[in-house]
C-alpha cells in the first residue's frame, strides 16, 4: 500500500526483459528526474528538449556501461502525467538488469510496482478508471478478441455504453424527484408519464448490458479446453495425440492421471489452455479423490469439454450422474475393437448426441502421412480401416471377422481427422461466444449483474408501493450500485436537469 502513496521516482523495464532482444525500453517517472539522474548520463540533461531523441552514454563510476538513446516527456504531457524519461538500451538481460540496479542505488528511485505507471496515470487523471481497466486487459490479453475489447475501452466504446446508461439513470432520478419537490409545478399526470417512460428506458439499457455479462468471461480471456471421462477411457491418449507428444503418462492402470496436466494449443490465432483431467470414478484413495474433485471443478468452468468414453468400461450409472449438457464433444475410443459395435450403439443411444468413434491409440506419424478424403467421416467405415498401430488396450489382430459380416459398424474417424474435427468444434464455439460482445472486466460485470438484480427488485417494489419516499430510498440503494459503474450523480446535476427541462416555479 505504501508504495502507492510515496513520492519516489519509479523505474521499470517497459518492453519485457524475459529474454535477450535488440533494444529494451526503460521508463523512469517522477518529479525532478533529470536532476536526480544526471550523474549517470554523459549528456547534459538540463539542455534537452522534450519529445526529442538524444544519444547518451550511461556512466557508472566514470565507466561507460551502455551507449543508448533517450527521450524526455515533460509533465503533464506524458503517460503518467509526471516527468518521464525513456531509455532505449541494448536488450541483453544482464545489461538491462545492470542499468536498473544502477539507478536504484539512488535513495530517491525505486523499482515500480506492477501497474504503478498506470496507477500514476490514473492518479494524475491522464486516464479514467474504465480506461485503466481496459489497459490492464490490453496488457494481459492473450487472444484476438480480448485485445480488441481492450482497445475499445481505451477508445471509449464501452464507455459510451456506460454513458448512455448513466444518462438513462440520471433521467430516472429526475423523474422521481419531480414526484416530490415539483409535483405542483409539473402536474401529477405529466410526472407519472415521465416516470413510466424513464423506467422503460432504463430497463432496456440495463438489460442490454446484463445480457452481455451472461457469457462466462473466463471462457474468452483464458479459455480452457478440457478432456474428461471415466478412468481408463483413453483421455490421455487423446490429449497426447492432439499435442503430438507424450505429455500425459499413459498406462493401462486405471487412475494413472491423478491430477490434471495442462498445456497450450493455438487454434486460428487463439490460445487455449488444454487440460487433461484425472478420470472420474468412485475411488477411495485420498490423492486420487482429490484429483477427481478437481477434475469436476475444471469441467464446471471449462469453455469446451471433450468426453472420452471406453465402450467396454463405461460405468453407466456414474455417466448418468454427470452433467452431460456441459460436454461439447463425445469421443468413443476402442471403437475398432472386436465386439465393440453393440457397446458403441448403446452409448450413442444413451448420449443421444453426435458421437465420434475412434481408434485410440494410433500412430501420429502415420496419421500425418495419410490424410484421407472426407468420405472417411461420412461413410460407414469398418474397423479394418485402422491405420494406426495397436495401442495397449487394443486387441491385436484387429480385423475380427464378425465385424465384417455383421451389421455396419460405427463410423470410425481416425487420429488426424479427429484432431481437425476437434479444432473445428472448438473454434466455432469460440467464434459464437466472441460474437456475443461479452463484457470482460470482472468489476464491471459484477456491478452490472448486481445493478440488474437490484433493478428487478426495485421494479417489484414499485408494483405494490405508492409511498414515493420509500421508492426513492430504494432507488438510491440501486444508485449506490450503479455509481460504481458510472460515477456519482450530484443533486445539483439533477436539479439542473429539472430546471432545464421542466417549467418549475409558480
Amino acid at each position: 500500500m505504501n508504495a502507492l502513496f510515496d513520492n519516489k521516482i519509479i523505474i521499470a523495464c517497459s518492453s519485457g526483459n524475459q529474454s535477450n532482444c535488440a533494444i529494451t525500453v526503460i521508463r523512469i517517472s517522477g518529479k525532478q528526474i533529470l536532476d536526480e539522474c544526471q550523474k549517470w548520463f554523459s549528456k547534459k540533461l538540463n539542455s534537452i528538449q522534450p519529445r526529442k531523441m538524444y544519444r547518451s552514454q550511461i556512466i557508472d563510476n566514470h565507466q561507460c556501461i551502455d551507449d543508448i538513446m533517450l527521450c524526455f516527456f515533460a509533465n503533464p504531457n506524458s503517460y503518467t502525467g509526471e516527468n518521464v524519461l525513456e531509455l532505449y538500451v541494448h536488450g541483453n538481460i544482464l545489461n538491462v538488469k545492470r542499468i536498473l540496479a544502477l539507478f536504484c542505488k539512488s535513495e530517491k528511485i525505486r523499482f515500480a510496482q506492477p501497474g504503478e505507471f498506470t496507477y500514476r496515470a490514473l492518479k494524475n487523471k491522464k486516464i479514467s478508471l474504465t480506461q485503466a481497466e481496459g489497459l490492464d486487459l490490453l496488457l494481459n490479453a492473450n487472444n484476438g478478441i480480448a485485445f480488441k475489447q481492450g482497445l475499445d475501452i481505451l477508445q471509449g466504446n464501452l464507455h459510451k455504453k456506460f454513458l448512455s446508461l448513466y444518462k438513462s439513470f440520471r433521467n430516472l432520478k429526475v423523474t422521481f424527484e419531480l414526484q416530490i419537490d415539483f409535483l405542483e409545478d409539473v402536474g401529477e399526470k405529466s410526472a407519472n408519464q415521465q416516470l413510466d417512460f424513464a423506467l422503460k428506458d432504463f430497463e432496456s439499457k440495463i438489460t442490454d448490458l446484463y445480457i452481455k455479462t451472461l457469457t462466462n468471461k473466463s471462457h474468452l480471456l483464458t479459455p480452457t479446453v478440457v478432456v474428461v471421462g471415466q478412468t481408463n477411457a483413453g483421455k490421455s491418449s487423446f490429449f497426447n495425440n492432439i499435442l503430438g507428444l507424450n505429455r500425459s503418462i499413459v498406462s493401462k492402470i486405471k487412475g494413472t492421471t491423478r491430477d490434471y496436466v495442462s498445456d497450450y494449443i493455438t487454434i486460428e490465432e487463439n490460445l487455449f489452455q488444454f487440460i487433461d483431467t484425472a478420470g472420474i470414478r468412485n475411488s477411495y484413495e485420498e490423492i486420487e479423490m482429490e484429483g477427481i474433485k478437481r477434475s469436476k471443478e475444471i469441467m464446471k468452468n471449462a469453455f469446451f469439454c471433450v468426453m472420452v468414453l471406453n465402450p467396454f468400461e463405461t460405468d453407466y450409472d456414474e455417466l448418468k450422474s454427470l452433467d452431460l449438457n456441459k460436454i461439447d464433444m463425445f469421443i468413443v475410443s476402442h471403437a475398432d475393437c472386436k465386439n465393440s459395435y453393440a457397446e458403441c450403439k448403446k452409448l450413442e443411444k444413451i448420449l443421444n448426441q453426435k458421437v465420434y468413434f475412434t481408434n485410440l491409440n494410433y500412430d501420429n506419424e502415420n496419421c500425418q502421412s495419410g490424410p484421407i478424403g472426407p468420405d472417411k467421416t461420412s461413410g460407414p467405415i469398418g474397423p479394418d480401416k485402422t491405420s494406426g498401430p495397436i495401442g495397449p488396450d487394443k486387441i491385436s489382430g484387429s480385423i475380427g471377422p464378425d465385424k465384417i459380416s455383421g451389421p455396419i459398424g460405427p463410423d470410425i474417424i481416425n487420429g488426424c481427422f479427429l484432431k481437425e474435427e476437434f479444432y473445428r468444434n472448438v473454434h466455432s464455439k469460440f467464434l459464437k461466444f466472441s460474437e456475443t460482445d461479452t463484457l470482460f472486466i470482472e468489476r464491471q460485470r459484477t456491478y452490472i449483474n448486481k445493478t440488474y438484480n437490484k433493478y428487478l427488485k426495485f421494479k417489484e417494489l414499485l408494483k405494490c408501493n405508492t409511498d414515493i419516499a420509500i421508492s426513492i430510498s430504494e432507488l438510491s440503494i440501486l444508485e449506490n450500485e450503479i455509481s460504481q459503474l458510472i460515477g456519482i450523480i450530484s443533486t445539483d446535476d439533477l436539479l439542473g436537469d429539472i430546471f432545464k427541462n421542466f417549467c418549475i416555479g409558480k
Partner: protein, 618 residues
Amino acid sequence: MEKSTFDIVVVGAGHAGIEAAWMVGNIGLKVALINLPGVQIAETPCNPAIGGVGKGQLVREIDAMGGLMGKITDLSAIHYKVLNESKGYAVQSTRVQVDKERYSVFAEKFLRENKNISIISAKVVKINYIAADCFEIRLENNDLISSKAAIVCTGTFLNGKLHIGAEQIPGGVFGCDRSDSLISICPVIEASKRFKTGTPARICKSSINWSKLEKQNSEPTAQNFHILHNDFERFNQQITCYLTRTNQRTMEIIRRNRNIAPLYNGQIKGIGPRYCPSIEDKAFRYQDRNEHHIFLEMEGHELDSVYPNGISTSLPKEVQNEFIHSIVGLEDAQILKYGYAVEYDVVDPTVLNFGLGHKDFHGLYFAGQINGTSGYEEAAAQGVISGINASLKILNKAPIIFSRNDCYLGVLIEDIITNDRDEPYRLFTARAENRLFIREDNTINRMHCYREKLGLHQDIDQFQNNYINYFNLLEEFAESYFFKSNDLIMHKFNNNGYGVIDARLSLSELLKRAHLDPVKTLSQEISDQLVKIDYKIIKSVAISQKYRGYITKANNEFENLNKLDALKINWKLIAENERISNECRQRIIKTKPESFSQLRRINGIRPATIAYVATMYN
C-alpha cells in the same frame, strides 16, 4: 451622538434578523435589532406563504429550536394546504398562507415582549471590525453601538436596485430605502456577486371576476407549525384561493415585447433562480407552452391586494397591464402595485463556518438572503443558526452543528457554506440524502437533542421532554403488544380491513402492512385501548414504525459512506499534499472543509481527490 453597548447587534429585521435576535434574546444576551426606517419587521415582500415541500419541515425544525416563524405563521395563517398528500408521509409538507400585515404585527409583538431585545429603527452606515469579537456599529444619526458580535441580515437591501421596464430605482423592496454596498459599510469584506429576484404585480381584490375561477379551500387537516398550538386550531378566518391560467394571448404579448424586457435586453445582470422563473422566462424558455398556472392569493383580511402567484415580472407597466388583462378572471383587473425585479449584492458564503460566522473575522456573522439563498424559511433558518452560535460563542460554549443526516437545517447549512453558487439557493427535499427520516411528523424526535444543548427551561422544553417520554412509551407499546390469532381478533381484523392474521402479530408489524394507513390504524388501536394520547405522538410513532425497516436498510447500504462523511478532516494537511491536484487544493484552501462530508460536496472536487483523502484517513 449616543453610545450604547450590546452583546450582539443584528443588522436587518427580516426573517433572518428577527430569528437571530429572538434566539439571542431567549438565550439571555442583550441584543440590538436594527431595522431600516420605513421597512416593516418580518416583511413578506413576495408570496405571503410559509412552508412548502421541504420548507414545511424546515419551519417545524425552526420551531423545535425555539424560533419564531412557526408561531407567528399559525397566528396569522389564512389558508392551509398539505402538499404531496398522496405520495406518502415522508414527503408530505405543510404550506400556509399568511396575512402579511398580521405576520409583521405578531413578529414585532413577540420581539418587544422580550426584554433582552431592543428594536432600533435606523440605517447602519458602518460595521467596524475592531478586533476579534469586538465591533463598533455606526448609525446614520452618528449613534455608536459596541458589541461582541454582529449578525448581518440585509436581505435584498444590500446595494439593492429595482427594475420595472426601463425604470431603475435604488431600493431593497418597493417603496423602501436600501443599504450601501457591503465594502463601504463593512470594509473587511466585499460582496462577491449580484443576484436577482422578482415579484408580480398586486391586483385589487374587487376588480377580479371570481366567478369564472377554480376554488381552492383551506384544508382543515393541515397541522399547525408551532408545537404548543393545538394541531388543528385556526386563529383567523380562512380564505379561499383561486386558480386561473395564462393563455396564448398572454404569452404572445410577452414574447412580442422581448426587446423592452429588462431580463432579456441586458438591463438586468444579476442571476435569478431557475426554479422561480419570471413570466418572461416562461415565455422565452418554454416557447411551446402557453398555459401556466396562476394562483390568486389574498394578502390579508384588511388588505385589498391579491398576489397573482406565477406571473412575476419586470416588464414595463403598460405591458404588465396588457398581459394581465388577457387572463381569464383578470380582464378588468386593477393593478395596485406593479411587478418588479430586484438586484442585490451577496457574499461568498464559503468564508463562513457551520455557525455562519466568518472564518477569519471572529464575531462577524452573515445570515439570510445575503448568503445567496432565497425564501423566507431558508432565511429564518440561518437566523436561528447564527443567533444560537453567536450567543454560544460569547458564552464560551461549544457551537451547535446541525447534521445533514437528521435535519434540513443541517442540509441547508452545509450546502450554503460549502459552495459559492451561481444562482440563489433554495432548499429541496432532493438535497437531503435521508428523506425517509427527515420528516415533518418526527421533528421533535430529531431536534430535541439540539434544543437540549441550549440548556433552557422554557415551555417548549417542557413540552418536548413530555413528548419524548410519551413517544418512547407508545413505541414500546406498539412493539410489545401482540394480537393473538383467535376468532375474536380475526373478526376484528376483518372488520377493520387489517387483512389476515394466521399467527401472533405485533401491533408494530400490523402498522407496516402496505395497504394500511399506519396513522389511522394506530389511532384506532389506541382508542380501542381507551387511552388518550396526543395526536402528534400517535402520528409520529405510527409513521416511524412504517419506515423503520427501510431506513435501516438504507443506513446499512450507506454505512461506509456515512462513516467517512462523519470524519473530521484537517484541510490544511490535505492542501499541503502535493499528490492532490493543484486545482483541487485551491478549492480546498478556499472552502476549508471541516469534514469529509463537506469536502466531497465541494463543487469541482475530483473523484480521485476524494478517493485519495478517503485512503489518507483510513
